[in-house]
Structure formats: C-alpha cells, structure tokens
C-alpha cells in the first residue's frame, strides 16, 4: 500500500515559545479519507501548515507520496491541494479568476485551467456566480470556492481544514458527496473537523491530536468499541417519579424526560422492562450526544488531566 503522507518526529516551537508539535508521527495511506481531530490549539493547523509549506517546522520530516518536503519542497507542493480554515482568496476577484490564477501558479496552462474551473464550479454549484465579486458569495459558497480552488491542480492529497464550518446541513451533505466522489477517483483526503458526525460518516481511520501529540491513531470502528457506556434520553408519557429515577439510577432532564447511562454489557430490554413495570410508556429514545464526540471529549480531557498532573 502506498503511503500518501508520512510525518516523522515533527516538532514546532513558535518564536513566542509556544510548543505546537512535540515530535509528532503520523502515516496516512493513499486513497483513504483520514480524519484528524483535536480540540482548538491542539496542533492540527500547525501540522497542516507545515505539510502545505505555510509554516516552517522546527525539526522532523514530512514526506508526501515519497517526496521529502525538506529536499524537494516544490514536488511536494505539486501533490497537495489545501482548503484552509479561514477564507484566503482575493475577495475582489471573480471566482473564475481565483480558480484560473491558482491553476496558473501550479503551471496549468490557461486553456486547461478554464476547463477545470468550469468543471469544478459546476460540480460545486457555483457556476452562475463565476463572474461576480467573490466577497459577495455566502459563507457556504466561499467554502465551496476554496474546495474548487484546491482541486485546480488535481492534487493527489487534498487537505480539508474544517471545510464545513458554518455551512448549513444541506450544503454540508452535498460537500460530503463531493468529497466522497473525489476520494473514489483516487485522491487521498485528510479532513479536520469539529463535526464528529462528519468524521464518522466519511472516514475509516482517525488520529486524535492533543497538546501537539497524537494520542490515538486507529480506525473509527475500533475507537468506538472502546466506549463502554452510552448515555440515553427517554421521553416518557408523564412526569417520572422519584422511585423510577432511583430504580434506573437516572436523572431528570425535563418534565417528561430522563437520562441514564447504559453499559454495553447491559441489554436495553431490561431498562424498558423496569420503565414498563412502573407504568410508564416510552414515547421516544435517543443518544444524548454523538458517540464519537463523547469519546473524543473523554480522551482529550484525560490527556489534559495527565498534563496538568505532570
């Protein structure tokens, strides 16, 4: 299997003394959609900045499809397409010009650049906006424009840094479809996101980064099996009694709802039986939070506590 990205012992200390990366190691296989999660300030953007040549590493090595960033920076750059977190295109240019210029910087001849721009603007539903001012686009459109721009050099590795932040659900889902489509066509994708549902939907493998280190690097499936308790909310037909709360070891969340932790080893049938025996009907039931979100929170909290203790 080809390795798309290999990061070895990567360290970054900023001039103000902030240590952003502490010897980080990471491998991403070619052809996959890889999730990179971490709380704000964990080092995700620094890592992406180094890979895409926007930040200088203090030490360590980055290889993209076997090419060393240190030895062959321009070759590495030609493999990568970047969708950063913040809008970073010229707001006074037309979307068409933003794309064609970006292709030109990668050495794509203008004629081909115009064809590609048309293709990606149409795929990302921006074609009718091509000749307006980019600053007039909505937030979601601006994000899609950055995705189209990142595709102009037809990269082997596409890095999406929170691509769906602030985007409504409908557009988010259409962007997911686009990402899945380009992954099917062979592009390796690294995705950072705060929407953990997004990672769960799109990615097979995941790395969690915190305090400049990878604290977990595994498959999402494997990661979820480590979660032994899930929190459920049951909506009942009437106000729960103290007796019911005591029996289920539950908490009341509002007039007709209770919340309780259920161990994976425990069957939900038992919970239903106890509720039924007390004369209540369950009108609906749901997870309190996204499972991955809960796990992510626990892992980063645990890591922070360890750090504080040290």
């Amino acid at each position: 299997m080809t390795i798309a990205l290999k990061v070895s012992h990567l360290k970054k200390t900023y001039k103000n003394g902030t240590v952003a990366l502490k010897g980080l190691d990471l491998e991403v296989q070619a052809g996959e959609i890889f999730a990179l999660l971490g709380p704000n300030g964990a080092g995700k953007s620094t890592l992406i900045g180094i890979i895409s040549s926007l930040v200088n590493a203090t030490s360590g090595e980055v290889e993209v499809f076997g090419d060393s960033l240190h030895k062959n920076r321009n070759k590495v750059k030609s493999h990568i397409g970047l969708v950063p977190q913040e809008f970073n295109f010229n707001m006074f240019e037309k979307p068409m010009d933003v794309l064609v210029n970006q292709a030109g910087y990668y050495g794509v001849p203008r004629k081909i650049a115009l064809q590609r721009a048309e293709k990606y603007l149409k795929q990302l539903q921006l074609w009718d906006k091509r000749d307006g001012m980019s600053r007039m686009l909505s937030g979601g459109m601006k994000r899609r424009l950055m995705i189209a721009r990142a595709m102009m050099n037809e990269p082997k590795l596409l890095i999406l840094d929170e691509p769906t932040a602030g985007v409504d659900i409908e557009i988010r889902r259409s962007m997911w479809e686009f990402v899945q489509q380009i992954a099917k066509n062979g592009t390796t994708i690294i995705l950072t996101t705060h929407y953990l549902e997004e990672a769960e939907q799109l990615c097979k493998n995941i790395a969690i980064i915190n305090h400049g280190e990878i604290i977990q690097n595994t498959t999402i499936k494997q990661l979820l099996t480590t979660l032994d308790i899930e929190t459920f909310i049951f909506d009942l037909d009437k106000n729960p009694s103290d007796e019911l709360l005591r029996l289920l070891n539950a908490e009341i969340t509002d007039d007709h709802s209770i919340q309780l932790d259920v161990k994976k080893s425990e069957a939900l049938n038992d919970v239903f039986k106890k509720i039924d025996a007390q004369g209540y009907k369950v009108l609906s039931m749901r997870n309190k939070v996204n499972r991955l979100e809960e796990l992510f929170f626990k892992m980063t909290q645990k890591d922070s506590n360890k750090e504080n203790a040290a």
Binding site: Y14, K15, L54, L82, F89, N90, D97, Y105, G107, P109
Partner: protein, 256 residues
C-alpha cells in the same frame, strides 16, 4: 525555464497588470493629476521666475526628474500595496502553497510594479509635452535607467511589504525615507547649487544617481558620472534581489 514556470510567471504578471487596470482610478489617475499640478506650479508658474538650470529652461530641467519621481513612487507603491494586501487578506497563501519558485513570486510582482511605473511614467511624459518640448539625448539611457530604477524600488517595496505587519508599516517608509530621498535627489534642482558639503552628502543619496542618469538620457547633462550612476543602480538591483530571494527562501514575514 520550464513551461510550468513560464505559465506561473505569466499568470502572476497578468494578474498584477489586470489589478492595476481594474483600479485605474487609484493607480493611474492620481499620479497623472499630481504631476500635472507639479508642471503647472513648479514648472510653469515658479519655473518662469527661476530661469535656466543646467543650461535648460527650468520646465525642461524638471521633466525627467518628475517622470522619474512618479516612476519611483508608483513602482514602490504598487508592489507594497499588492503584496501586503495579499498578505493581509491571506491570499498570499495561494502562492506559498503552490510549487511556483520563489524567483517567480518575486519577478511576477516586480513585473507588475514595473508595468505601473512605466504606465504612469509614460502618461506623465505625455502630460509634460503640453508644457514643454522634450529633448531626447539618448533613448537607450532613458529606457534602461527608468526600467532599472523601477526595478530597484519594486524590490525595495517588496522587502517593505514582507516586513510589514500592519498598514502603518507600509506608510512609514514612503513618508519618512522615500519622499525625502526623492525630493533631495535632484528632481527640482542641480546639486551644483548646493554648498560643497551638501553636495558631498547628496552623493550618498541613491535617487540622485537615478534621476541624473535619466536626465542625462533626455538632456545630456548630469550632476554625476553616468557610469557611476549605472554602477550604483545595478548594485542596488543585485543587492535587493539577493535580499528578497533570501527573505522568500526563509519565509521572513511570510511563514511562521
């Protein structure tokens, strides 16, 4: 040079020139109006009372200086506003993530600055024709000095833009360094009018060599030796190019 590099250079140069033309009311028109006022006030109204300078009437004497002054300020201003603007709004990252070589990033922006410098210089020259006859002693000296001087100030502007972190930083150098050097660089007078001490001090001002070499191309007179002037201008081109490329390589002011 590979085709991809040429494409990148063409793209950047084209983008810069399109920008200048798109905002012509900010880039082309103001210097044309300012220089017209200089011609009317200094050349026509005051100049008539001054009489001759360097063997020519005062209007003819200041035309090369004023053309050069507009080239200097516009070349510098173009690259500073374009490059710092790209830094400020972060679309500089479009170039930094691309495999475009550093010299292309530099040369593409210098091309834009040169284009604006020459556009404005040409317009100011045409305006000058309404006020006086223009002599041309040696067209090659005129062209080479204006191009090289434009490049010098484009490179200087690039360094300023790299270091700048806020808009104040790109206003300070033109206000406190560029304008005094230009005004004291023999645009409006021959340094032969100055006492010997100030003549010597003036010779540390690089703009003096640029203005005088350019004036020599028009009028055949100069306060400095023309070869010395070329040596000074070329030295600045080489020195500033090396500094710019070093800054780009290290990412000074561009990468954290």
């Amino acid at each position: 040079m590979s085709n991809t590099t040429l494409t990148a250079l063409y793209t950047l140069g084209r983008k810069e020139i399109v920008r200048i033309l798109r905002i012509w009311s900010q880039t082309i028109l103001p210097p044309a109006i300012t220089m017209t006022l200089y011609f009317v006030i200094f050349g026509n109204l005051i100049g008539k009372r001054i009489g001759q300078m360097g063997g020519f009437d005062y209007m003819s004497f200041i035309v090369p200086g004023l053309v050069m002054m507009s080239v200097i300020t516009n070349s510098y201003g173009n690259i500073v506003s374009s490059f710092f603007g790209a830094k400020f709004s972060k679309h500089i990252e479009e170039m930094l993530v691309s495999p475009m070589p550093n010299w292309v990033i530099l040369f593409g922006h210098v091309l834009g600055a040169l284009a604006r410098g020459l556009m404005v210089g040409s317009i100011v020259t045409v305006i000058a024709l309404f006020f006086t006859e223009i002599h041309v002693y040696n067209i090659w000296i005129v062209i080479s000095t204006v191009v090289l001087t434009s490049i010098v100030f484009a490179l200087g502007g690039f360094i300023n833009a790299c270091y700048a972190t806020k808009f104040d930083d790109i206003a300070i150098i033109p206000a406190f360094i560029l304008t005094p050097l230009t005004y004291l660089g023999g645009v409006f007078y021959s340094i032969s009018l100055l006492p010997p001490f100030w003549q010597s001090v003036s010779k540390f001002n690089p703009v003096l060599y640029m203005v005088n070499a350019f004036r020599y191309g028009f009028l055949g007179v100069s306060d400095v030796n023309i070869y010395t002037a070329y040596a000074v201008i070329l030295s600045f081109v080489i020195l500033l190019t090396i500094i710019c490329l070093y800054m780009l390589k290290k990412g000074i002011g561009l990468r954290s």
